[in-house]
């Protein structure tokens, strides 16, 4: 009895599977096509005009796409073939997108890492000639940290407050003038080249007010550059906070400003911090506005309010244009330092956002 029953059962499931599954490529199909394509491309490389690693790889990818789609079309039918083609295209697009990124990181790492040493991080370029080895970027590191830090101190609060105004207060204002003016200038500022902002600060701060070149002047330029990114990302994040949440807070008898400060902003905090970090990362690499506002320096100046100050981007530019092997190596070292610095800031911001933002269960 039992055997008969189970036999019937087996047959009906296999029928069902046939109906649902259809004919598919074997599991090893993708790998096989891939290997064959690579091999064919290699042979073409050896035997014919196809040349170089990139060329070979490109040919291999093309062969893979054609081979897999064709095989799939004959065995599995049109729908699966299109699916495989689309999947391959998405993967290829992803690879193309990350290749330059990985290449840049790799190059900077390979060229920059050899100059890293305790001395590199603790000394300045004072009395070090471009031709000789040694020296360091301590002065530039201090400059960048102070200038970017001050810029963030100025730019982040102003940007966040402007966004709070745009989202929380502007919709019920009697006149839309102020909010449309803010929106307009934010849009315009997004498009203004950084060198123009540098020129503006140079004219306003140094020529007109007669103040000396200083790291602070650079901070002002960087703060202006940060503003549009901060305003726009904060605005987006605040708009994502559900209306219900604001209303529940108001319904508890919590005043408006406290609702914004304690309920709305904390809920959006993760995104706001990410936006602020992106803007900081963006301005930390700016060179032109620094040259116009604080210029260069080879020695340590830890006072951002007085005298020229070095910074990592201007250090890199200066060392690279000096043109000797030793100075070029230092330039790569500076570039690697800048990247690492931004990564540290970014990781730190993520940690802060996780600790303070929406609590996950």
């Amino acid at each position: 009895m039992a055997t008969v029953g189970s036999g019937k059962f087996e047959r009906s499931t296999s029928l069902l599977q046939d109906a649902l599954a259809g004919r598919r490529l074997p599991r090893w199909g993708v790998g096989a096509v891939g290997l064959t394509s690579l091999l064919a491309a290699y042979l073409l490389n050896v035997l014919t005009v196809v040349d170089g690693v990139a060329g070979t790889f490109l040919v291999a990818v093309l062969l893979f796409v054609i081979g897999q789609t064709g095989w799939s079309f004959t065995v599995e039918g049109r729908r699966h073939a299109v699916d495989r083609l689309a999947t391959t295209t998405v993967y290829a697009a992803f690879l193309i997108a990350v290749t330059p990124l990985v290449a840049v990181l790799g190059t900077v790492l390979v060229k920059g890492f050899p100059v890293f040493s305790a001395q590199f991080f603790t000394t300045s370029m004072r009395n070090v000639s471009p031709r000789s080895e040694g020296g360091g970027l301590y002065h530039a590191l201090i400059g960048t940290l102070e200038q970017v830090g001050l810029a963030a101190l100025i730019g982040v609060p102003i940007g966040v407050l402007a966004a709070v105004y745009l989202v929380e207060y502007a919709p019920e204002a009697k006149s839309r003038r102020l909010s449309s003016a803010i929106s307009f200038f934010v849009d315009v500022m997004t498009g203004v080249p950084s060198v123009v902002i540098g020129l503006f600060i140079y004219t306003a701060f140094i020529l007109t007010l007669g103040l000396p070149r200083s790291g602070f002047a650079a901070s002002l330029a960087l703060a202006i550059l940060m503003l549009p990114v901060i305003v726009r990302t904060t605005e987006e994040m605040l708009r994502l906070v559900p209306r219900d949440l604001r209303e529940s807070s108001l319904a508890l008898g919590i005043p408006r400003w406290k609702t914004i400060l304690k309920v709305v902003l904390p809920t959006a905090l993760g995104g706001i911090i990410t936006g602020a970090m992106l803007s900081i990362a963006r301005v930390a690499g700016e060179t032109a506005p620094l040259l116009l506002t604080t210029f260069l320096s080879q020695s340590i100046n830890s006072n951002p309010f007085k005298g020229p100050q070095a910074a990592l981007p201007t250090f890199i530019w200066d060392q690279f244009t000096s043109g000797t092997d030793a100075s070029r190596a230092r330039a790569w070292g500076g570039a690697l330092t800048l990247i690492v610095l931004i990564m540290i800031l970014y990781a730190g911001a993520k940690v802060i956002a996780r600790l303070t933002g929406a609590k996950k269960s």
Binding site: P242, S249, T267, K359
Partner: protein, 259 residues
């Protein structure tokens, strides 16, 4: 402590759009008043004028009077923050504050109003409010976990606990059970039975049985036609509305012959 509400000649506007017109009704203290009616007839709008939440929508305003124990809550010298402190509200979708723990959610209305309170006092409020919302036993061991980690029904009871923690005198509920399963709905209905001993409750519901089960008084709102303002058709003891309504429209609506 519970207070009565009198609404007189209330018109509700969203900008130039008049959503509700000519509502006059009374809500008795220590009782449950249910608002029923088809979608879009203005039940939520009326409810939100009772704690001055309507006016937080840009361009929204009202004309007419809303009296809380005889005092006009819309008179110029009344602070809406104080009104909302006296008249609490629970929303349709459970919405605990996502950045806060269960404990912080319950005390939010107290800690964010500026007055200082001792830790012990807050502890007491947490337990009392969560007990009041029938949630204490389920969450007492995880008060410091995020409020968003609870089930939907628990979250809604957390929102009720949050609302009663500030000790309002009136509790407004806008379809508090519409996102909940039957068991959680029952839990909330039981809760309403207990709460009405101390609070005046106004509840909006689409569930006719629910209105019949929990309320003493029922107000039926209707839309005369699309694009016209909603109106209050009648308000009467719930038994009468469901057994012997005064208007044909009410009978059509509750017997499902609507349209």
């Amino acid at each position: 402590m519970a207070k009565r509400i009198d609404v007189a000649d209330l018109d509700i506007y969203y900008g130039s759009f008049k959503a509700v017109e000519n509502v006059t009704l009374a809500v008795e203290p220590r009782s449950v008043t249910a608002f029923i009616g088809p979608s879009g007839c203005g039940k939520s709008s009326v409810l939100r004028t009772l704690n001055r939440l309507h006016e937080v929508i840009p361009g929204a305003y009202i004309t007419g009077k809303v009296l809380l124990d005889g005092e006009d809550i819309y008179s110029a010298d009344v602070d809406p923050v104080n009104v909302r402190r006296t008249i609490g509200m629970v929303f349709q979708r459970p919405n605990p504050f996502p950045t806060m723990t269960i404990r912080e959610n319950v005390t939010a209305g107290l800690t964010l109003d500026g007055a200082r309170r001792s830790k012990a006092e807050l502890e007491q409020v947490v337990e009392k409010s969560l007990r009041g919302a029938n949630l204490w036993d389920e969450v007492k061991d995880r008060l410091d976990r995020p409020g968003a980690g609870l089930s939907g029904g628990q979250q809604q009871r957390l929102c009720i606990a949050r609302a009663i923690a500030v000790e309002p005198q009136v509790l407004l509920m806008d379809e508090p059970c519409s996102a909940l399963d039957p068991i959680s709905t029952l839990a909330i209905e039981d809760l309403i039975e207990q709460l009405k001993l101390n609070f005046t409750i106004v509840i909006v519901t689409h569930n006719m049985q629910q209105a019949a089960r929990v309320s003493e008084t029922t107000a039926f709102f209707n839309l005369p036609a699309i694009g016209q303002p909603g109106r209050l058709v009648e308000i009467a003891p719930t038994e009468q509305i469901f057994s012997n309504p005064g208007e044909q429209a009410t009978e059509d609506y509750i017997s499902g012959r609507f349209g």
